[in-house]
């Protein structure tokens, strides 16, 4: 794919292969196949879209009246329709907001009569939360008493006083969704270019003319700036900036499926009235993944480095401390992974979506931090409306293919289906990843998929190989060998995540040769 040269011209160019860029590109292909996606990394979903909590929020955590809040509520409502035909799982697990004896700050509750405190925690606060949600357009919220809490979530702290249940919260794998959207776009004619970094935007006389990349230039009259963390820099290139993305890290801890399956059934968060410090995130929670792992997080830490996906010891401790109160007997030792993603907020903390006046044809879709994943369907609606005004055809294509075939997964097949596949290709009977039961055939297949995986992480995101409790200790070099074989490269050139991330240093004895350092 890297060798392919960029087209001379394109109807629309989408900058950024994250969930927002791919959603918009897919939507554009309903009207025209003439769209190009440019992604600077080696795979789609390689930035913020690969490292978040997979939650489809309802909008309850957003300030009333913001663009974020409106698009979140609308986006959540549209989700089933949005994922239809993509072959991606989406499930509404709901959110339980638990009100505990520390929901009221101690300096407030200290002098409060017991009866008043009880009324606040058991009745008034839940009632206010429900009313607040209804005002934002979130439907189906209800108060839970203690019995209901423990029946639904037996591990929640006995300090729980009451709770509110929001049934609209959902889960989707953010990277699987992004890959599926990108593939669906490609099936319908979009052209995706990986390892293609935008270095300039050509604007003449207030009119957008083209996009300059490190691999050549594309003439175009429409550009979507969905560059995530780098959206401010891309906007600046077009003279359509004036906003600043300030990166904010969020760390999440991930736990072994066997040890934590069924630990929580819905997302569970603790409700705490805000103190003096302004909150930077919705506070995170404990939530399952679609595969059954438990996650705790995320944190919210300002950083000045857009590549700082590190996690500090303090962050890990902070997460555990925060959740020990909610889950006193939490199985800490079952942690198998921790990751950090970077949100891309603007200083105003709201989404910036709109056509530029300085560069006609250039559309910013920026500041899409959480709940961007949840808002994606509504963001798409809004952007496409803008594009229609800029000249995107109004007529939907008759030849749009509504289906993106999902790769088959051994672990999800019946024994009869497995046998049938093994009969045609024995690699279906060869389990490579022992923790997640991924077969050799699956690894090979995603390397020849619609958007071929070309490195370890890309294979992992598509197949779950190495995502289990051993974290690739058993399968790592075996997967590397398959990648080398399929790409026809020496194993020493196999990377974890694109250029500079070679997995191995050399062939045996290479360091012992004369002149080797």
């Amino acid at each position: 794919m890297e060798q392919v040269t960029l087209p001379v011209e394109a109807g629309v160019v989408v900058i950024g292969g994250g969930v927002i860029g791919c959603s918009i590109a897919r939507e554009i292909t309903r009207y025209t196949p003439d769209v190009v996606i440019l992604e600077k990394e080696s795979d789609v979903a390689d930035g913020t879209s690969k490292a978040n909590n997979a939650e489809i929020h309802s909008g309850i955590g957003e300030d009333y009246g913001t663009l974020k809040q409106k698009l979140n509520v609308r986006g959540n409502f549209l989700y089933e329709e949005f994922v239809e035909g993509l072959g991606v799982d989406f499930r509404r697990q709901g959110l339980m907001i638990v009100i505990t004896d520390r929901t009221l700050r101690s300096e407030v509750s200290k002098y409060m009569p017991k009866l008043v405190k009880g009324y606040l925690l058991k009745k008034l606060i839940p009632k206010l939360i429900v009313r607040n949600a209804e005002k934002k357009g979130i439907k189906g919220m209800r108060r839970l008493d203690r019995d209901e809490i423990f029946r639904m979530e037996p591990h929640v702290t006995p300090h729980a006083e009451s709770a509110v249940f929001d049934p609209t919260y959902g889960l989707v794998s953010p990277y699987k969704l992004t890959i599926a959207l990108a593939e669906h776009a490609v099936i319908n004619g979009a052209r995706l270019f990986l390892n293609a970094e935008v270095t300039g935007i050509r604007v003449e006389g207030g009119q957008l003319r083209g996009v300059v990349t490190d691999r050549g230039e594309i003439k175009t009259g429409m550009v979507i700036n969905a560059a995530g963390l780098f959206a401010d820099e891309v906007a600046e290139m077009a003279g359509a900036g004036g906003f600043k993305i300030h990166p904010r890290k969020g760390a999440t801890l991930l736990f072994d499926r066997d040890a934590t399956a069924e630990y929580v059934h819905s997302s569970v968060a603790e409700f705490r009235l805000p103190g003096k410090k302004k909150r930077l995130s919705k506070g995170g929670g404990a939530m399952p993944t679609l595969e059954g792992n438990l996650q705790l997080g995320p944190t919210a830490i300002e950083t000045n480095d857009k590549y700082d996906t590190s996690i500090s010891a303090e962050e890990i401790e902070e997460i555990f401390e925060r959740f020990y109160y909610l889950f006193p007997h939490f199985p800490r030792s079952a942690m198998i992974s921790a990751f950090s993603g970077i949100r891309a907020p603007t200083l105003e903390e709201d989404f910036i979506i709109g056509a530029s006046e300085e560069a006609r044809g250039f559309v910013n879709v920026a500041g899409i931090q959480s709940p961007g994943l949840a808002s994606a369907p509504a963001i798409v609606e809004m952007v496409v409306e803008i594009l229609h005004r800029l000249g995107l055809p109004d007529q939907k294509r008759a030849d749009f293919d509504p289906i993106r075939p999902a790769p088959l997964k051994f672990s999800e097949l019946s024994d009869e289906e497995r046998d049938a596949l093994i009969a045609t290709d024995p690699r279906w009977g060869h389990v490579i990843c022992r923790c997640e039961y991924v077969t050799e055939a699956e690894v090979v297949n995603v390397m020849h998929g619609i958007i071929p995986a070309t490195n370890m992480d890309a294979v992992k995101r598509r197949t779950r190989v190495g995502m289990g409790r051993c974290q690739g200790s058993f399968c790592g070099s075996r997967v590397a060998a398959i990648i080398a074989d399929e790409l026809g490269i020496p194993i020493t050139e196999v990377t974890k995540d694109g250029k500079g991330s070679q997995v191995f240093a050399g062939e045996m004895k290479s360091l012992l040769k004369e002149g080797a350092s």
Partner: protein, 423 residues
């Protein structure tokens, strides 16, 4: 419909434990023994252990890992034990039904009369010990690095920091050095090495590789590939000491921070596990809480010597044979084996008969000099031995001859204590 095989015993895993157990079951008279292995060859981890030091108890000579494995493989070749290689067991039910898959037969069901669990263990990873930092290429476990070098023939890095002084880490420090890979040092959070003394001497001291006790890695640097690690001294509470950090440039971090018995199948079968060992609770004949399912080797607890693995495998193999042939002896009430003074755990955790000789395996909680090991019941000594030094990484074996049980009268429990020799 595929034919459902119903062997006398199905052994899951063909490392040293599985090989030994299959052979023992066969020798004890079982005619239909099936050995299931997920890898493409027999031997488990042994083929990649090209260093020597194996077999001093079982064979009274010093062998390499492949040699040790070959002894068993050769014996098995003389039998009609059915070997299923490249076959992954997907499920094991409490009724002992096995579901497995391979490329030749597809999904197969097996209904053995007895099962021996011999899945071994896996390595603890970076996140299980919660090392902060980035997630670049170049972080791997010592056993994985050993496989890369000794089986795949690839070099994982050029300048390595090793965290943890478990045996595999020590062995790999030497192996890296011989391969021209620079080992900056081995860092160990505890104030004593994690591996056995022989390996500290032969793998580090002999090659002038520094061992930094009471140190840990507190940060991994590098976004794409490891660029370095921050190491830091730790206090008595094992927490990093402020101001004692040091950044070490390197392209690889190798972890030797412990092994975890691999019991996912045991859980599926509803077998009770011991929190202290991470493996099934077993009786003196290595039978688990599910009747007819036995376990041996590192799936029960992580042994330090392969010889002990083989011994436990023999017991399990013989026991499975007795179970199938209906010759098993069983007392009315299980007798608990208690981990007493300075004893972290004992395997087996209980005994079901007192008519056979019994080997107890245990680890101490903390190092201690000049000690006596006491195995007692009803205040009577069943076995004792002296040791100049006991250390947590080194497993201690205590053998109780069957006649001692008779001498002790009615036994309700057995206790293992490590006491000072002066006491």
């Amino acid at each position: 419909m595929k034919e459902v095989r119903k062997p006398d015993v199905a052994v899951i895993g063909a490392g040293p434990a599985g090989l030994g157990a299959a052979l023992a079951a066969h020798e004890a008279g079982l005619r239909d023994v099936m050995l299931i292995e997920r890898d493409i060859e027999l031997g488990g981890i042994l083929p990649q252990c090209i260093h020597d030091g194996f077999g001093s108890i079982v064979f009274k000579e010093v062998l390499t890992g492949p040699q040790y494995a070959q002894r068993f493989i050769d014996e098995i070749a003389k039998t009609d034990i059915e070997i299923k290689l490249d076959t992954m067991v997907l499920d094991l039910s409490p009724e002992k039904r096995i579901k497995a898959v391979n490329s030749r037969e597809g999904v197969i069901e097996i209904e053995p009369k007895s099962v021996i669990l011999a899945m071994g263990c896996r390595e603890r990873t970076r996140h299980q010990i919660m090392i902060p930092g980035f997630r670049p290429a170049g972080i791997l476990c010592a056993g994985a690095a050993q496989r890369d070098l000794n089986i795949e023939g690839i070099i994982p890095g050029t300048r390595v920091v090793i965290l943890g002084s478990g045996d595999i880490g020590l062995i790999m420090a030497r192996r890296f050095t011989l391969e021209g890979i620079e080992v900056e040092g081995v860092y160990e959070i505890m104030d004593h090495p994690g591996g056995i003394t022989r390996n500290v001497v032969q793998c580090l001291n002999d090659y002038a590789i520094p061992l930094h006790l009471s140190h840990t890695v507190t940060f991994i640097h590098g976004r794409k590939r490891v660029e370095g690690v921050t190491v830091c001294a730790v206090g008595e509470d094992l927490k990093p000491l402020q101001g004692r950090e040091r950044m070490i440039p390197c392209d690889t971090l190798v972890l030797s921070v412990g092994l975890i018995p691999e019991n996912e199948l045991s859980k599926k079968a509803g077998i009770k596990l011991d929190e202290a060992t991470g493996g099934p609770i077993v009786d003196g004949m290595m039978e688990t809480s599910v009747e007819g399912i036995f376990a041996c080797g590192n799936v029960v607890n992580v042994f330090d010597l392969v010889d002990y693995v083989t011994q436990s495998a023999r017991t399990a193999g013989q026991a499975a044979a007795q179970y199938v042939m209906g010759t098993r002896k069983r007392e009315g009430r299980p007798i608990e084996v208690i981990a007493g003074k300075n004893v972290k755990f004992v395997v087996p955790q209980f005994l079901n008969n007192l008519e056979d000789n019994v080997s107890l395996y245990f680890r101490v909680e903390h190092p201690e000099r000049a000690v006596k090991v006491h195995v007692s019941a009803n205040g009577k000594l069943l076995a004792r031995r002296k040791a100049k030094m006991v250390r947590p990484p080194e497993m201690i074996q205590a053998n109780i001859p069957a006649e001692k049980f008779a001498e002790a009268g009615e036994i309700t429990s057995i206790e293992v204590d490590v006491v000072s020799d002066e006491e």
